[in-house]
Symmetry: C2
Subunit: 227 residues, 2 copies
DNA sequence: CCCTAACGTGTACGGCGTACACTCGTCAAG
DNA sequence: CTTGACGAGTGTACGCCGTACACGTTAGGG
């Protein structure tokens, strides 16, 4: 009789792709911390060890998730100068990362790049050399761009104070005493953007500001290099 | 009789400082992965839960370890212009990070800065404002420097291929086919520095190259800002 | 029709962070 | 000298984690 109870799930079989997409989805909705092999398996209605038939281990799962994100980045434009092309592509990468907030953290934790990431870097190098950069300069520039190349910066205070805990005035006072320069900066910045007291700075603006700072510097280096 | 067996360890009692220093030492010698509460306790000849009388939890332990590293950074020089002062201090931070290879990874994982880190940032801001930067420009510059401010860059392929696995020629061939631009760049770079085939690039040089690129850009922005 | 290979299962192990209740040594107050 | 409070270190236990390994099950090809 148990055969009759058999539910009509006709569950589509697992596959590497289904596993990766489910993992990305889980991380998108519940954060990277919620992503355990066991939890992911539960999400797929399957026993934990089933996953290991499709990914070798958790590290490979994370690599695969990164690949999913990197594949969302637009290909290079070929209808403009190197500077616009690089700028646009990096901003496309940033958009992909913003869609998957866990991704930058996970990327930081990886030690070796996957083929997909290698391809991305390869095409990035090509954008510079096609744009007339020497190999040497391209090399240094790639290092200088660092993680900015795939759309994120290491922010060092990259929390976002959750909006349900409002800033208490006495904390500000204490902060003013302990960290006068931070306090002064914070006060100035918050006054300027009247929109909301909370964030105080516009991440997208800061990213583009820093990116353009680098690109302008790079442009100058190229001019000096080529004579 | 068991009293007689009592060993003459007269072990110095735990303290927050002793715990933190032992943790730093363990991470220095065995890597961040080896640092578990249990392992650290064993290293101190103590039961795991004993640590919790001195640090609230593992996150606080990590925060404390970061503080130890940040406190090794030299204070700002006051005998030069802003640019040299900032440059020197950042290179001092880099030296501290190189002494503790785990530190950059751990910093990346932290969400909220400790008071010690806040102080560091505060003094960094002050270096710019004292140097004649407007508050606004200082703000953007701090964002642009990002993690470079405490001496590391997000490298994106930050593995170091361990030296005991030599590069096999057929791998290079395959790489040349799959990633022609990377291959070309790699070949050029390795030919230049004849010292060793392995690393291929000088991290310290790349760091300073990128840092100077930023500082030069910042200097120009300042000139434009101040008129 | 059976063999095989691929896919999913079940059980188990060793590690982790840490809650909670305890022992025991120290030291001040009575 | 006793006592009682306090704080450092202990012991046990819980619920997670990643994953090794042996076992079913099932679908497709000889």
């Amino acid at each position: 009789m148990s055969a009759e109870i058999e539910i009509q799930t006709t569950r589509t079989p697992l596959s590497r792709e289904r596993v990766l997409l489910a993992a990305v989805d889980l991380a998108d909705h519940e954060g990277a911390d919620a992503l355990s092999m066991r939890r992911l398996a539960a999400e797929l209605g399957v026993v934990p060890m089933a996953l290991y038939k499709h990914v070798a281990n958790k590290d490979e799962l994370l690599d695969g998730m990164i690949d999913v994100v990197v594949e969302e980045i637009d290909p290079p434009r070929t209808d403009t100068d190197w500077k616009s092309a690089v700028r646009d592509r990096i901003l496309s990468a940033r958009r992909a990362l913003l869609r998957h907030p866990w991704a930058s953290r996970v990327m930081e934790s990886r030690t070796r790049p996957t083929p997909t990431v290698m391809s991305y870097m390869d095409s990035m190098i090509q954008m510079f050399t096609d744009g007339g950069f020497s190999i040497d300069l391209t090399h240094h520039v790639m290092h200088a761009l660092g993680s900015r190349m795939i759309g994120f910066t290491q922010e060092l205070f990259n929390d976002q104070t959750d909006p349900d805990t409002p800033i208490r005035p006495e904390m500000l006072e204490a902060m003013g005493a302990a960290y006068p320069s931070i306090y002064r900066l914070w006060k100035t910045v918050s006054h300027e953007d009247e929109t909301i007291v909370g964030p105080g700075c516009d991440d997208q603006f800061e990213f583009e500001f820093a990116l353009d700072l680098m690109l302008d510097g790079i442009e100058r280096l190229k001019a000096a290099d080529a004579g």
